[in-house]
C-alpha cells in the first residue's frame, strides 16, 4: 500500500503552524478538569493558595489547527491515534495564561507484525506567561 504520508513536504518539519493563547486559567476550570480525571488529591481539587492543576491540564489548551497547511486535512481521519507523550514542566496555577506552539515534529516509519507503519508526530509546547515550560505534548498518529 502507498505511503499516505509520502507527499508531505519534509520542509514542514519543525515549522510553527499555530500559536494559541489561552484566557487566564481559572480555579474552577482546574478543579473541573481534576474531577473529570477522577482525581482525589486535594492539591488539585480544593480552591485556595495551594491549588495547582492536574499535571496533564495543558492538553486542554484549545487549538484551531490540528495539522499544518500542506498536510491534507482529511489525513487525520485516515490514521489512528497512537497516543501522547507528555513531558510535564511547571505547575499551572489560577491566573496563568498558557501559550501553545504547534509544530509538525516528526514523520517516521517502522515495521511490525502486520507490515509497514508510518507515524506522524505533532508537537505542542505549552508555556506560561513567564516563559516557563508547562508541558511538551507529542501527539502521534499512525498510518498503515
Amino acid at each position: 500500500m502507498a505511503d499516505p504520508l509520502a507527499d508531505i513536504d519534509r520542509a514542514l518539519l519543525g515549522q510553527v503552524f499555530e500559536q494559541s493563547i489561552s484566557k487566564p486559567v481559572t480555579a474552577e476550570q482546574m478543579i473541573r478538569y481534576a474531577q473529570a480525571c477522577g482525581e482525589t488529591d486535594p492539591r488539585y481539587l480544593e480552591d485556595g493558595p495551594d491549588l495547582v492543576a492536574n499535571p496533564t491540564f495543558a492538553v486542554t489548551l484549545r487549538r484551531e489547527k490540528f495539522v499544518p497547511e500542506g498536510v491534507p486535512r482529511d489525513l487525520i481521519y485516515r490514521g489512528m491515534d497512537a497516543g501522547k507523550d507528555v513531558e510535564i514542566g511547571v505547575h499551572v496555577r489560577p491566573g496563568d495564561v498558557l501559550t501553545g506552539v504547534s509544530t509538525l515534529h516528526d514523520i517516521y516509519e517502522k515495521t511490525g507484525r502486520s507490515g509497514k507503519l508510518t507515524f506522524l508526530v505533532l508537537r505542542l509546547v505549552v508555556e506560561n506567561q513567564r516563559g516557563e515550560m508547562v508541558a511538551v505534548i507529542d501527539q502521534k498518529m499512525m498510518f498503515r
Binding site: 517516521y108 516509519e109 517502522k110 515495521t111 511490525g112 507484525r113 502486520s114 507515524f119 502521534k140
Partner: protein, 218 residues
C-alpha cells in the same frame, strides 16, 4: 552467566520502561528472573553518548547496548555497535539490506543476529519461504519473550536446517517483562567485546523464566 539480550527502554518509541525501572525490578525479583545483565537494543537508533556505568555499579547488574534495526528480512539485533557501523548504516532506515548488514557488521567487529524469526512479516522464517537464505548468520533469537504462541516454536526448525546457534531475550517494553527470556553463557561477559566473542564462538543457550514468573503472579 545469564544475560537478557533484547530489551527496550523508553528511548524506543514503543516502550515506556525507564532503565532504572528495569534495574529495580531485577533486584527485587532476582529469585524469579536470576539474570546478571541486560542488553538494551533500542529500535532504529544508536546514541553514542549514553553511559550506564554509574547504574551498573549501583545495581550490580551488567548493562550493555546494541540496537534493533529493520531490514528486508525482518528485524535484526546488532551487538558490538561502533562508530564505523553507524557511519556505514542509517539505523533509522527501515529498508536496510539484510545481507549487507550481516556481512558488514561482522567485518566491522560486531555480530548481526535476526530476532523473533518466527514472527510474521518481520521474522526470518517467513522471508526464507520465498527468498534465498542469508549468508553469514551465526545465531538467531531462539526464544523471544514477546512472541505469540507458535512463533518461538518455528525457530527450532530454522536453527536445525541452517545450523544457527540460538539465544534468548525478553524483548521487554514494560518493566515487569524484563528477563523473562534470556541467554545463559558458559563464560563471563563483562563488556560488549566479550558478548560479541561469545556469541560468535562461545557456548550458550536460551533460557525461559516465563513459567515461573506467571506462577508467581498467580
Amino acid at each position: 552467566m545469564i544475560l537478557d539480550l533484547h530489551a527496550h527502554t523508553d528511548a524506543s518509541d514503543d516502550s515506556r520502561a525507564p532503565i532504572e525501572g528495569y534495574l529495580k525490578w531485577l533486584r527485587k525479583k532476582r529469585d524469579l528472573v536470576p539474570i546478571d545483565g541486560i542488553v538494551l537494543t533500542e529500535h532504529r537508533q544508536w546514541n553514542p553518548d549514553v553511559d550506564y556505568r554509574d547504574l551498573e555499579d549501583r545495581y550490580e547488574i551488567v548493562i550493555l547496548r546494541g540496537a534493533e534495526v529493520e531490514t528486508d528480512y525482518g528485524h535484526i539485533l546488532l551487538y558490538g555497535v561502533n562508530d564505523e557501523m553507524t557511519a556505514r548504516f542509517d539505523f533509522s532506515d527501515v529498508h536496510l539490506d539484510a545481507q549487507t548488514v550481516v556481512s558488514e557488521v561482522e567485518k566491522l567487529g560486531g555480530i548481526a543476529a535476526p530476532c523473533h524469526p518466527g514472527r510474521p512479516t518481520i521474522g526470518l522464517c517467513e522471508h526464507y519461504e520465498h527468498k534465498a537464505p542469508l549468508e553469514g548468520v551465526l545465531a538467531v533469537e531462539a526464544l523471544n519473550g514477546g512472541s505469540r504462541r507458535g512463533e518461538n516454536e518455528r525457530v527450532g526448525q530454522l536453527m536445525g536446517a541452517f545450523g544457527y546457534k540460538g539465544f534468548g531475550g525478553s524483548d521487554a517494553h514494560l518493566v515487569s517483562l524484563i528477563g523473562i527470556c534470556a541467554t545463559e553463557f558458559e563464560r563471563d561477559i563483562r563488556d560488549v567485546d566479550d558478548l560479541v566473542r561469545e556469541l560468535r564462538e562461545g557456548s550458550y543457550r536460551a533460557v525461559d523464566f516465563r513459567e515461573q514468573v506467571r506462577a508467581a503472579r498467580g
